[in-house]
């Protein structure tokens, strides 16, 4: 004869145990899911994807009785290509971030949240790539195989062109700086020349307007010419000291002399060019 009452106690114990465990598990999972859902996405909104899908769903506008044209296929293709380009950038970002993030996570420098966000972004981008390939194949069979190659080149080309633009935009400021500097050095040069020849004061009034015009119109060949013109005047007043000063202050002049040599050299080098 089974004693039902005494048997009910262990069963009740088991029931309560399993029940409480199940409740805990349910609550825990739900909370975790909520937390995961509230995590901020890794990337911002995918603008190119939104544009593409909007265009895909764009209803032909009916103005009056005439129906507007549907979106042409080439526009959709361009939009898809833009979307693929953005995806390439995201894939690169994910790949670059992964090793660093793994190390940081192992060291405990970043939280689990960040890692969850990252994993989700990775999964999202995989699905996105698959989706784009499908769409591309739907337009032209076989395009899916090459669309990301094209997108990658588009991405690289964009970076190249941006970099070139950046560097080339410096040219204007460099030119301004150079013009100003040349003017300054010439003015300084002239001033030094004049202060160096107090023994020939007569030449001064006639000389200074001329030198003024030289500095106002800075063109390279004039500098050596002016130096040459000034040299005899200063040369007779004092000996080697004057020469030293001339050389010292004549930074640009020396540069100009060697520039002629440099130009010739460049010309020579040029012949070996492809």
């Amino acid at each position: 004869m089974v004693d039902w009452v005494s048997l009910a106690i262990p069963f009740a114990y088991l029931g309560i145990l399993v029940g409480s465990l199940a409740t805990f598990s349910y609550l825990y999972r739900q909370r975790k899911a909520n937390k995961a859902a509230s995590l901020a996405p890794w990337f911002g909104p995918h603008l190119q994807r939104n544009i593409y899908l909007t265009l895909l769903h764009l209803e032909p506008e009916s103005t009056g009785e005439k129906k507007g044209p549907a979106v042409p296929e080439t526009v959709l293709k361009a939009a898809l290509l833009r979307r693929a380009t953005e995806d390439v950038q995201r894939v690169i970002a994910v790949r670059n971030a992964k090793p660093a993030l793994t190390t940081l996570l192992q060291r405990g420098s970043v939280g689990d949240d960040l890692w969850q966000r990252f994993l989700r972004a990775e999964k999202e981008i995989e699905e996105e790539l698959r989706d784009v390939i499908q769409e591309a194949n739907a337009f032209t069979p076989g395009w899916g195989a090459t669309i990301f190659q094209s997108a990658n080149e588009i991405h690289n080309n964009q970076t190249v062109r941006k970099r070139i633009e950046e560097i080339q935009s410096q040219a204007a400021t460099e030119r301004q700086w150079w013009d100003k500097k040349r003017e300054n050095t010439q003015a300084q040069f002239m001033k030094e020349l004049e202060s160096e020849k107090p023994s020939t004061p007569k030449a001064k009034p006639t000389e200074s307007p001329a030198s003024g015009s030289v500095t106002a119109n800075p063109s390279a060949p004039e500098a050596p010419a002016a130096a040459a013109a000034a040299a005899p005047q200063t040369g007779n007043t004092a000996g080697s000291e004057e020469d030293a000063v001339l050389v010292e202050s004549g930074g640009p002049t020396i540069g100009a002399d060697s520039a002629a040599g440099g130009g010739a050299k460049a010309g020579k080098k040029k012949k070996g060019k492809k």
């Binding site: 909007t54 293709k77 833009r82 190249v160 560097i167 040219a171 060019k273």
Partner: protein
């Protein structure tokens, strides 16, 4: 990504097929949308000029040889003018060639563009040096180096030389030092660096 997307206020121009946005708010997101649409329309125009069936961009390789041939011809032309000493004309031709190289369809290999442009900028730098436009030459040489760091000793040398001409000896020394790291013992760079160092010493710096 889940199966949702944000519907954007887009509008298709029936005649030009250009996409525009009808939202007039001037927030940062709408300005991003406007620039994106401009890029999209530009890309669409290049797609329309394609000759492939279905107007689908071809894979990056092989490259359409027409443009490469035109660029090469332009460069040869520029080189010829340069040798004759017609530097201004050479600069003009090189500039043309550079524009043409940068005007390649964007899906063509970027490596090829880099290679072409590096040579062209180096040549234009030389021509600018011939015209004694040192700032422009320095910038061109820098661009060339940026596009092709290794095996581009001439461009390294040219920027170094231009900096010397402009009296920026310190900068030139740093630049040439970097050049030696990248290019190894290139005789011309070593020579120029020695000159620069001597000049710096003479000035007592």
């Amino acid at each position: 990504m889940d199966e949702t997307f944000t519907l954007l206020p887009l509008h298709l121009d029936p005649s030009s097929k250009a996409i525009s946005t009808s939202s007039t708010s001037s927030t940062s997101s709408s300005s991003a949308l406007t620039t994106e649409l401009a890029t999209l329309n530009a890309l669409h125009r290049t797609l329309l000029s394609l000759e492939t069936p279905g107007k689908t961009p071809p894979p990056p390789i092989p490259v359409n040889p027409k443009r490469s041939a035109a660029i090469t011809k332009m460069r040869e032309n520029g080189n010829a003018h340069f040798r004759k000493g017609a530097h201004a004309e050479a600069v003009r031709l090189y500039t043309f060639a550079i524009d043409m190289a940068l005007g390649r369809p964007v899906w063509e290999p970027a490596g090829l563009v880099r290679e072409e442009v590096a040579g062209l900028f180096a040549n234009r730098a030389a021509a600018q040096m011939g015209l004694r436009n040192f700032p422009e030459a320095a910038v061109d040489a820098e661009t060339s180096v940026e596009m092709k760091r290794i095996g581009n000793a001439k461009a390294w040398w040219r920027r170094g030389k231009c900096l010397v001409e402009m009296g920026r000896l310190r900068e030139s020394k740093d630049w040439l030092g970097k050049a030696l790291e990248v290019e190894g013992k290139e005789a011309e760079i070593v020579g120029l660096l020695a000159e620069v160092k001597k000049e710096l010493e003479r000035r007592g710096e």
